[in-house]
Amino acid sequence: MRNTWTIAKREFVHYFVSPIAYAVAVLFLSILGLLFVANVNNVAQQGGSPSISFVFGPLTTLLLFFAPVLTMRLLADEQSKGTLELLLTAPLQEWELVVGKWLGAWLFGLCLLATTTIYAVILYAYGNPDTGVVYAGLLGLALLIGAILAIGVFASSVTGNLIASVAIGYAFVLTIWIIGFAGQVVRVLFGGNQVIATVTEYIDFAGHFSNTFNRGIIDTTDIVYFVSVIAITLFLATRVVEARRWR
């Protein structure tokens, strides 16, 4: 456990000296800011009440693009630079390494998420937003960010090449993102209660956030879902790192 924290700390600090992380943060925050202003303006002109979900909704989409970039170097870089040899010959277990890497990235992700609370503050100052949506949304996003970064860590574990790592990350994240549409297509074509549609809709990433957390609903199904995604992908990444020894 102590080793996990050592690794996590290094990765977290590394984000603050890494130009890529700053580029991601700048884009992320400016796009989010623009969308917030546009959305709030729209709703206000139509006489509606602005909600924090205007920020959280697009935020999930932005994560789709930025998460694999944030995680690409975590394990891929260690492999290409040979520093993995250093870590694996230190008294450190593979799972400690993988979980530490993910934890470092997640903490950075939570920092980005924390900046969005400024929008909640603005909404409270000028309006009357739904407090339940703010808390549920933050909790849901924290879990969603953890899950999407865990997928990125797994993508980073299978290759020593940064570009391949990003590409694999996108492949997985996009698949899990649009798989719900596949379910809908099946329903439209074959109607009713198709098992395949139920399964794909359960696997669907965004649905577990937009249908519940972002409407102020905290459902254990969704919490279990995100925690499972984190656990399974980190387990797989650990096995990949272990397998590297046997080649």
Binding site: T6, K81, G82, T83, E85, L88, R245
Partner: protein, 336 residues
């Protein structure tokens, strides 16, 4: 042929010595296959406490593979390896705690400063009094003034020293250094060798090199390895003595030394005289007796002016080349 027989005997003798208690590294029948290729082939060797053992062999002989197995980076296909009393396969974590390792590529986090890097590695090793220990180690590799330099700005030699500092941090009982002087300039090579020599005695050091003079200069014992097999194992001095099969003496006289060959051949104990050039000879003698006084007498009594008389051991380089050549010949004979 004779040389091979001698060293085969010696290797066999060492096998029985292998079960001594103070062995810090004990390897038996270690084998690693990459697909169908044998990278190392039933290696058996040991290293005592405080010994500096050199692993000498051409590139691709299996040195790095062996070291990676000893440090727990990769498993062996067969065989047993015990380091500091811990099995590196079944008790890997405990073994790794007792090993300091400098991989050949000297992996470092180049975006960190020297201090940050050592601090990180020390934290992974869960060192008590980390700051003091880092300072101590930096002093021993003469890097104290570069603590805040970014590793990306350091020269190759400096990086090597940082790598070495990392390997020393946790006061490991066994140090495994893969090509510790490769790519350094001569002054840095001397520094690193000096440092390694200082480390031997209290710690067991195993280092690999393909530079013969290096093994000769710093190692207590040398293992010559080629194509995954140990060809010879002994102290550099004894290897020289055993494999040359006797003593060799160099003689230089003033003038062309006409007739000296005959005179020298008459000296008892001389087995062969090789004229090198005018007035210079190399004499092979039966092992054991010191033949130099006799040769000096023969030269002076014969009326030649003796300029130089020296004992010449076979250099490790010659031994090494001879062993590798003999093995290749043997293989050819088998294939024919």
């Amino acid at each position: 042929m004779k040389a091979i027989a001698v060293c085969a005997c010696y290797v066999k003798k060492n096998l029985t010595d292998n079960f001594k208690k103070d062995n810090m590294i004990q390897v038996e029948g270690l084998t690693k296959r990459y697909g169908s290729r044998l990278a190392i082939d039933h290696l058996t060797f040991h290293a005592d406490k405080g010994e500096i053992v050199g692993f000498l062999g051409p590139n691709g002989a299996g040195k790095t593979t062996t070291m990676r197995i000893l440090t727990g980076y990769m498993p062996a296909s067969e065989g047993k390896a015990i380091v500091a009393g811990r099995d590196v396969f079944t008790d890997s974590l405990e073994a790794r705690k007792r090993i300091g390792y400098l991989p050949e590529t000297v992996p470092l986090y180049t975006e960190m400063s020297v201090w940050q890097y050592l601090d990180f590695m020390g934290e992974l090793r869960q060192l008590p009094n980390r700051d003091d220990r880092i300072e101590e180690v930096m002093e021993s590799v003469h890097m104290t003034d570069r603590a805040d330099s970014l590793i990306s700005n350091l020269s190759k030699g400096m990086r090597q020293r940082v790598g070495l500092a990392q390997a020393l941090l946790h006061k490991p009982e066994v140090l495994i250094l893969d090509e510790p002087t490769i790519g350094l300039d001569p002054a840095q090579v001397r520094d690193v060798r000096e440092l390694i020599r200082e480390l031997g005695g209290e710690r067991t050091v195993m280092l690999s090199t393909h530079i013969l003079s290096e093994a000769q200069a710093i190692c207590n014992r040398v293992l010559i390895i080629n194509k995954g097999k140990i060809l010879a194992e002994d102290t550099p001095d004894r290897l020289r003595a055993r494999l040359s099969g006797g003593d060799r003496v160099g003689v230089k006289v003033m003038g062309d030394g006409a007739g000296l060959t005959e005179a020298l051949n008459k000296v008892p104990g001389v087995t062969a005289v090789h004229p090198i050039k005018d007035g210079e000879y190399e004499i092979d003698a039966a092992p054991g007796g010191n033949i130099r006084p006799e040769i000096a007498k023969a030269v002076v009594n014969g009326g030649w002016n003796l300029m130089e008389l020296k004992a010449m051991g076979m250099s490790l380089e010659e031994i090494y080349l001879q062993l590798v050549r003999e093995e290749a010949e043997e293989e050819e004979a088998q294939n024919a």
